[in-house]
Symmetry: D2
Subunit: 150 residues, 4 copies
């Protein structure tokens, strides 16, 4: 390649970088911190947009007996939508507890003009009940917001 | 074996059958009907208690554009608990709709003394929003009860 | 009026009664039983469609320490809609408990073709938290269905 | 009063101010701004800790047809608890809409060490349905946080 051809290529690449719109895609892969100071680590997505990972309790979560707990979920294809919805399930591992607790999170990933991603989610948390008569009080509800840990 | 010994054995077996607790296990595999007349077909469980399946709209569901939609989930191990909790996600397929809708169900399977299984679940249903400012109105909530179709 | 005219009138009236739609209005006033065997007694409505009353725990409610607890709420005007929405708040009175618990119910009253009324409601139940860090786990959710006690 | 007595008084008052615990009580009375930029104006409390007021839509709420809507509710007695729970109902007034929409908010007021009050609430929003078969999709859910407008 001659010198001028080389400079033309560099120039083209530079222009491409500058002109390209912010194409930051919302992927759940990576590390996130919740508004309650919990951490979440999510694997890379497989070809069906599924992921697995771990949920790590924060310092002030109130459930001091929480251990690192596995999660599984999936998200919408970012080829189709820039701000995908997602869902995942956490099977809580607890110290000294025989009662199963499971959470489902349902949310959407938003990207702001600077490319910052935020996850907005509603969750349900169920504690196993002994009988249908006790079922009514088994489910809690709330929201979580996650920002990416860089 | 003498005649009286034989009768003693039969009697022992008969008593064992009568006295044995109902050991019916709650597995999500099979066909279910919801209290809103929808149907759900769930695969056999894999070794990690995961399942997949389909959700079929009922006649009067109100969302007439609903198509048969895939679901994925998992349940607690019935070796450990007789009335397992479960969770699954439905990615709704809709006629003539560009907006993604996803539901998460979180519930528990109960068995009554006759061995009849009932699924009690709470669900969240999210419609994708265009921006965080529209996010607040994107999530509906409700309950579903399912009984097995025999 | 001649005899045949008289009979024609009687016939017309009889037909009117038969054909007339069931005009039973959904009022919350009265006694109700929930699907968890709790009872609820609601006062007559004041001119602004407000009511007060009491919620009485059932035999198997799981919160054995529940006492009869006061409720306050309002419903839509049945002059405007035949199947009004309603909301009410219950401030739970508990034996041996210092922690405040409050529920809000939000629902709708439906009348079937026979004039039977059913209340469908979703509720939130909040337990006071010590700090914002504990707030996330303070709210439970569920549904209740009520039928009138005659 | 002599000069030294005067200084002693000033010193005593200054110490009193410094040493006094922050006795700021959480009252809902006043003006609040939600995290979705809506405003809420709440009356002074009556002797039973009841209040009324108005909810004013924000610029970007997504329901552009919202009008100023009346609210009614009550809170726990601040003589008994420093961080009271509260509940209120909003009957939404909408332009060009015949369908009733009602929200219930259930939350708690928290005071930080600087005396800043924040309201954390979960809400349900119900749209009237035509029949029980349509009831399942009538209720939305979410959270709101309010800070005082000074």
């Amino acid at each position: 390649m001659g010198r001028s051809a080389f400079f033309a290529l560099v120039l083209a690449l530079a222009l491409a970088v500058c002109v390209a719109p912010v194409e930051r895609k919302c992927l759940l892969s990576g590390s996130w911190r919740s508004d309650t100071s919990c951490r979440m680590v999510v694997s890379t997505l497989d070809k069906d947009n599924r992921f697995s990972g771990f949920y790590l309790p924060g310092p002030a979560a109130g459930y001091s007996e929480l251990l690192t707990s596995p999660l599984e979920g999936s998200q919408q294809d970012t080829e189709l939508v820039p701000q995908p919805t997602f869902s995942f399930t956490v099977n809580w591992r607890l110290q000294d507890s025989e009662t199963a607790r499971t959470s489902v999170f349902l949310g959407q990933c938003y990207v702001d003009p600077k490319g910052e991603e935020t996850l907005h989610a509603l969750w349900l948390l169920r504690e196993a009940a002994d009988s249908p008569a006790e079922d009514w009080k088994g489910t809690r509800i709330g929201t979580s917001t996650f920002t990416r840990i860089k």
